[in-house]
Amino acid sequence: MENITTNARKALKLKEILQILKCEIIWAEDDMLEMLIDRAGAADLMSDILAFMRPNSLMLTGLINIQSVRTADIAEITAIVYVRGKKPSQDAIELAKEKRIPLFSSSYFMYDACGILYSNGIRGHN
């Protein structure tokens, strides 16, 4: 993680994000990995996601219950990355399949995951 330089804003494919965040795929279909992402937001409070995140962005969270997926669906989030290697509950995975929201687990902590994404060109909501 040393010598990080910050790239200008750019969109990345989900499969590129999986690589840079060292993610394990919890659930996704192959074609979903081609989707482009240029914004992300991180929160453990679901109301924050609902209040501040724009549609079609990436959500990072440490919350693993079914409400994480429900919130992502209502907020029109493209995909969820669970941080610190957390795995969502089984009912959350089932709902994600139904709603077609890809789920990933990254071994990075929230702060580090956000920093890595930002330095690779993914911006937030300011």
């Binding site: 453990d44 409070l45 679901m46 109301s47 924050d48 609902l50 209040a51 549609p55 969270t61 919350l63 219950n65 079914i66 409400q67 994480s68 429900r70 919130t71 669906d73 209502i74 907020a75 029109e76 009912d91 709603k99």
Partner: protein, 146 residues
């Protein structure tokens, strides 16, 4: 409200307090209905967020209640009525960050004191009334042509 308001659809949804597993199911169904009716995506989004915050509030704080959804040619209206403890100080409850939620609720990602402000932010009109030991009623209107 325009005089030529025509109701397209009306549906009531029952919600049970503490039913966390199903929390959001009704809002999701409401979103699906609006999408099916081809309403603008901004209307679908605002209604979905307002309904979800109201639904979760009901599940967290009340014994039971219902959402009455009224879709017309000009607006989406939701009347959310619950049976519960009611809200002691509505002015405080409307303040961002104020919450009476337990630690257990907060661990689930809710109870951050953003629910009612989030509903208001997404509504064209928002009204709230509450009676202690009886329950709370919300009126939410989202205009289709804004």
């Amino acid at each position: 409200m325009p005089d030529d308001k025509k109701i397209i659809m009306r549906k009531k949804f029952e919600i049970l307090g503490k039913d966390f597993i199903n929390g959001g199911r009704v809002s999701s169904e409401i979103r699906d209905i609006l999408k099916f009716l081809n309403l603008p995506s901004s209307v679908v989004r605002k209604t979905g967020i307002a309904a979800y915050e109201a639904e979760m509030n009901l599940i967290i704080y009340a014994r039971k209640g219902e959402i009455d959804l009224i879709i017309s040619n000009s607006s989406i209206e939701m009347v959310i009525q619950d049976e519960g403890d009611g809200i002691e100080n509505i002015e405080l409850a409307m303040r961002e960050g104020y919450s009476t939620a337990t630690a257990e609720i907060r661990e689930m990602g809710f109870g951050a004191g953003m629910g009612l402000p989030n509903i208001k932010r997404n509504s064209s009109e928002f009204r709230i009334s509450s009676e202690i030991n009886k329950g709370t009623t919300l009126y939410i209107r989202i205009d289709i042509n804004e």
